[in-house]
Amino acid sequence: MVLSRQIKKDSTVSKNSFNRVLTRFIYGLKLLLASLKNKISCMQNSRMLTLQQSIRFFSAMLFWLPVSVFSLLLIYNTIPYFSFSPNFSFIEERSLLFKNNFYYSCFYIHIFAGAFCILTALVQFSRIVLKKVKAIHRWSGRIYVFVVLFLGAPTGLYMSFFAKGSIWERSLFMFMAIFWFITTFYGLQTILKKNVLAHKVWMMRSYAMAMTAVTFRVYHIVFYLLGWDHLSNYELSLWISVIGNMLFAELMIYRKSKSYLKSFATS
C-alpha cells in the first residue's frame, strides 16, 4: 500500500513538474514570439519609413526634373531672340506690332524678365540653397520681386491687349499679369513681416503663374501632335496652362497647410 502510494505521489510530482516545465516552455516561446514580433514590427516600421522617404524623393524628382528641364529649354530657346533678328515666326506673325517701338521694347523686357524669373525660381525652391546659403535665396528673391513687379508684370499687361485669340484670351493674359503682380507683392509683404509660411504660399502662387509660360508650351506641342489646328490649340493650351497651374498650386498649398483658408492671409 505504502509503495503504491509512493508511486502515485511520484507520478503526481512528475506530472506537476512536467506541467511546470511545459508552462515555462510555452511562456518562453510566447516571450520569444513576442520579441520576434516586436523586432519584425520594428523592421517593418523602418522599412516603411525608408519606403515613404524614397517615394517622397521620387515624387519630388518626378516633379522637379521635368520642370527644370523644360524651364531650361525655354530659357535656351529665348536666348536667340536677343540677337534682335526679326526672323522668328513669333515676330514675323506680329510684324505690325513690332513696328511700334514701345511694343518692341516691352517684348524684349518681358522675355528677359520671364526667363530670369523662371531661372531664379529654380534656385528659390531649393531646400539646399535655403538651408546652407540663405544669402543666395535672399538676393535672388529680391531680384525676382523687382523683376516681376517692375518689369515682367507691367510689360505683360501692356502686351496682353495685343495677344492672340479672342477677347477672353486677352482678358486671361491681363488676369495673369495682375495675379502675378499681386501674388509676388504679397510674397514680399509676408516675408518682410517674417511670416515664412504665408510667404511660401504666396510665392508658390507666383511661381505657378510664372510657370504658365512653360506648361503652355508643353500643352501646345501635345495638342499639335494630336492634330489640332493652330488657333484652337493655342487657346486651349492657354486656358489649361493657367487654370491647371493655379489648381495645382492650390492643391499643393491645401495639402501642406493645416487650415487652407489661412493660406490667404497677407500679414
Binding site: 505690325l96 517692375f150 507691367p154 499687361l157 499679369a177 518682410l192 499639335y224 492634330g227 493652330h230
Partner: protein, 127 residues
C-alpha cells in the same frame, strides 16, 4: 514697402491705360485685324489628284470645226497637264518648337512628271 507697391501700381496702371489707348488705335487698321488670321492650307483630303483628262480650249475649237467639216474625224486625244501633288510631312517636334510661335506642318509641292507628260493632240483621220 509702400514705395514698392506705389511704383508697381503706377507702372501697372500706366501699362493698362497706355495699352488700351494703343490697342484702340491699332485696332482700326485692317492689318491688325488680319494679323492673326491663319493662312489657308489645303488639307490632304481636299487636294484632288489630277486624274481627269484636261483638254485645251484651242483643241476643242479645232475639234468642233473638224466635226462640222468632216464627220469622219476621230475622237480627240486627251492631254494631261503635269500633276502637282502636295505632300504633307508627318508632324515632327524639335526642341525649337518649344515656343509660343505657331506650329505648322510643312507642305511640299512635288511635280509628278513621270505620270503625266504633256502630249500633243493627235487627230486621226479616216480615209
Amino acid at each position: 514697402m509702400k514705395k514698392f507697391l506705389l511704383v508697381g501700381a503706377v507702372l501697372m496702371a500706366g501699362a493698362s491705360i497706355y495699352g488700351f489707348v494703343d490697342y484702340s488705335k491699332t485696332k482700326q487698321s485692317k492689318e491688325f485685324s488680319k494679323m492673326y488670321d491663319e493662312p489657308s492650307i489645303q488639307k490632304p483630303e481636299d487636294i484632288k489628284t489630277n486624274d481627269e483628262p484636261v483638254v485645251s480650249k484651242e483643241e476643242i475649237v479645232v475639234e468642233k470645226k473638224e466635226a462640222v467639216k468632216n464627220s469622219n474625224v476621230s475622237k480627240p486625244a486627251f492631254v494631261k497637264k503635269p500633276v502637282k501633288r502636295k505632300i504633307q510631312k508627318p508632324r515632327k517636334v524639335s526642341y525649337e518648337s518649344f515656343s509660343r510661335a505657331p506650329l505648322r506642318e510643312k507642305v511640299v509641292i512635288v511635280k509628278d512628271d513621270s505620270k503625266s507628260e504633256p502630249r500633243k493632240a493627235v487627230v486621226k483621220e479616216q480615209h
